[in-house]
Symmetry: C2
Subunit: 470 residues, 2 copies
């Protein structure tokens, strides 16, 4: 027998799609000051919705100096003695350029072939509305939520969440909860039922190598001065050994080898390496003695994201440049301290630097550690149960190679663990032209969200205590 | 007792300076189609001058298809039984940008502190007029030249002389001579009496390394695909060993080690390495076991002149690019075949290429061999004698690290050797803003040119035969 809350939610899917279209039509590009009205329109729509759902104590949260985009807060404390979830989503979207690569305008959402197209529809407005409609269905059918819910709907996710740590610090009491349930963070693949249990951290910086006070003519100086492009190439070449291992001493400090169990778990995930690499016209390459998914999920990396120097226009110029540049970022795994990992790489570069060149390190990118939800965390258990119930399959535990600042920030500031429970799929062109959201994900998502809330309601709040770090 | 021809020439220095100002005022930038009138004005001035000097058979020489800038030819065959010199100069000049770095407009020549400022004044209009005024003085005083002179005044020197090989091929008979005496090619330093006896050759190409069909996100792909910037850095790092020696097998084929005599000659040249490197805020670095001047004059090089890939704008982008690029050029020394040297470097890069990356080689820069005038060439002897006579010092034999296409082209096509007898100095900002020419060089140059023509007149034409390669 179908859950009456789910029945109600499913009956209102067309209204959800209409609401989603209205929300997507707000160009809420947080990075673009010219889109301030789009941001405000999105906030107003969401706030009206929360008011209609009987959420209370609604307010906008900002960092101490009031700068940046406010996050929307509201709560329903309906279930004394039940767990309290901080439910996370975000209302800002990625910029829409390059506009000429969109088949239809990014802020004029259209349905096509069972998909809704538009900027932000998958990241994160569709998944957000699945969560909100689930909560609304509980209120409509049962008059209350089965657990206590605090909503935190951020406006700076796509710009790196610069205000979020400050907001969490300031509103620590307001946001007190047992765990974070995120409507953001995509599912891996349409063909698998998965739960994401971890993400890599990141750090980055820029370097400049200088060998002379000015550009020099390669005829008049070739062979008698160092070429900074040669020096920088040597530094970059010295980052990895021939087998893809990072050579900076100390970089791997704290990194645990995958356990036999983890290796088996990963090994058992259906993954067609041939297809995956054919799709990007590349060949597998990475650290020796690890599989592709182990490399992506369990191993840290150092990559040069950009490098330049000398004459890079058309034709030829016989110049020996006096400086060369590179932008580097790292992906980090649990156990690594981001600052120490970054320092290890910088120190290694300095060791490789010859005496006739100078190295400047600058452009710190900020950094965040890796995150992994504890394997026995009660919220993870609830998510597993919910997906088993709604899909009939036991979800595979996967990780992502990218970084999810939210998880690391709430873990660090509030001491809370996060489970990603988004119903976006990672092939839906977020951060790219022609972003879309599968309409079938709405049905899947509503079913799973109804179920996970019911599962959480079965957990004693005390069960979360051992995992809360503050 | 001063040579009456020189007395006459010196008496007309102010007219020479006026003529030089008029010629410099023609913006003869061959590379800029908008400056076609400036090119034509310069040609017309020179042609009128040659006619007034009684030169005959004057004509414009072009390549087979008539494209490009014509070279001016004229001759005086005044001295049967005496040697015939092909006297070379060029009337085109470098572009004048960046204009805002000029203290006075480049085509409004002005005298200041014993120098004449303007684009092309040192390269090569001043040195050209020294040669022409010397010839005019002989005609004025003696009614004839002491040797036979064929003038070749090129219009494409600053754009790489693309038509010159064709012009020489087509007009082989017209241009037949015993050797080439060039009014182009600067003296090394104001504090030394030198003769340039050799220049390095050059070759170049561009490479592209590809590792995937598209740019990839460093989170979603970091650690599982090759980064083309890492691959290219490895290739560039593999070009040289730690001691600065080029590692490409075969690159040094045919390169002779400096002889003990050559090393001593170079060692005896006054050269303040500390000052030279302080001026460019660099430290000496190059192939081990050679001095700076040996490296610059006697050793071939490979340099990356430009390199780029990935995100090179402000801030950070977590991209793994799918391709990376580098522009490479070589400087070559006598004994090296340019094609073979280039092929050796390309082959070496291919050897270093890992199986998961593709390498494309393209953008061939054209190439030319190194050139050295034979140590016992009679024209070199005449130049030495002339400088000894006019300066009281024995000129030091120097080379240049840069490439002089003219010398290699006339050697290859006409089989003739060249002596550079310009009175420009290499610090006179040619190819840069505020180009100038020392007025004192006019006196030095006229004296030396009168004397070298007299010295050549003492040589039997038969003495040149063993050196002529065609």
């Amino acid at each position: 027998m179908t859950d009456p809350v789910l029945t109600h939610a499913l009956s209102r899917q067309s209204q959800l799609i209409d609401a989603l279209k209205t929300l997507v039509a707000c160009p809420s590009i947080g990075a673009d000051p010219a889109m301030a009205q789009g941001m405000e329109d999105a906030r107003a729509l969401i706030e009206a919705r929360l008011d209609a759902m009987g959420f209370q104590n609604r307010q906008r949260l900002t960092s101490a100096d009031g700068s940046g985009q406010p996050a929307i807060f509201a709560e329903r404390i309906d279930a004394p003695g039940k767990p309290t979830m901080l439910v996370y989503a975000h209302y800002d979207v990625q910029p829409s350029d390059p506009l000429n690569k969109w088949d239809t305008p990014p802020f004029e959402p259209v349905e096509r072939d069972g998909r809704l197209y538009g900027r932000g529809v998958s990241d994160d407005k569709g998944p957000m509305l699945i969560a909100l409609d689930t909560l609304a269905a509980f209120v409509a059918v049962e008059g209350r939520l089965p657990i206590n819910v605090k909503l935190l709907i951020e406006g700076e996710e796509e710009t790196g969440s610069p205000s979020l740590p400050g907001i969490l610090e300031i509103h620590r009491d307001l946001l007190a909860a047992d765990a974070v349930l995120s409507a953001d963070g995509a599912r891996w693949r349409p063909d698998l039922v998965t739960l994401n249990i971890g993400s890599r951290g990141n750090a980055g910086f820029e370097v400049r190598v200088q060998t002379a006070g000015q550009d020099l003519h390669s005829g008049r100086y070739g062979g008698i001065v160092a070429n900074p492009l040669h020096v920088l190439s040597n530094l970059v070449a010295g980052l990895h050994d021939a087998e893809g291992r990072v050579e900076a001493p100390g970089f791997y400090d704290g990194v645990a080898e995958p356990t036999e169990a983890e290796r088996n778990e990963i090994e058992n995930i259906p993954y067609d390496e041939r297809d995956a690499f054919a799709a990007i016209a590349a060949q597998p390459f990475g650290e020796a003695n690890y599989s592709t998914l182990e490399r992506l999920w369990m191993r840290p990396t150092v990559d040069v994201n950009g490098m330049w120097g000398g004459y890079i226009g058309a034709g030829s110029k016989t110049v020996i440049p006096n400086e060369a540049f590179a932008k580097l970022t790292m992906r980090l795994v649990p156990g690594q301290d981001p600052q120490k990992a970054k320092d290890a790489v910088i120190e290694h570069l300095k060791t490789l630097l010859p005496p006739y060149a100078a190295l400047e390190v600058y452009g710190d990118r900020g950094q965040g550690g890796a995150y992994a939800v504890p394997a026995d965390h009660p919220l993870l258990g609830a998510a597993v149960s919910a997906l088993e119930y709604t899909t009939g399959q036991s979800p595979l535990k996967v990780r992502i190679g990218a970084s999810l600042p939210l998880t690391e920030i709430v873990s660090r500031v509030l001491g809370l663990d996060t489970v990603m429970f988004s119903f976006a799929l990672s092939d839906e062109n977020f951060h790219a032209p022609n972003e879309f959201f599968r309409l079938s994900s709405i049905t899947d998502g509503l079913a799973a969200w109804v179920q996970i809330l019911r599962q959480i309601a079965e957990i004693s709040p005390d069960a979360f205590a051992p995992y809360k770090k503050n």
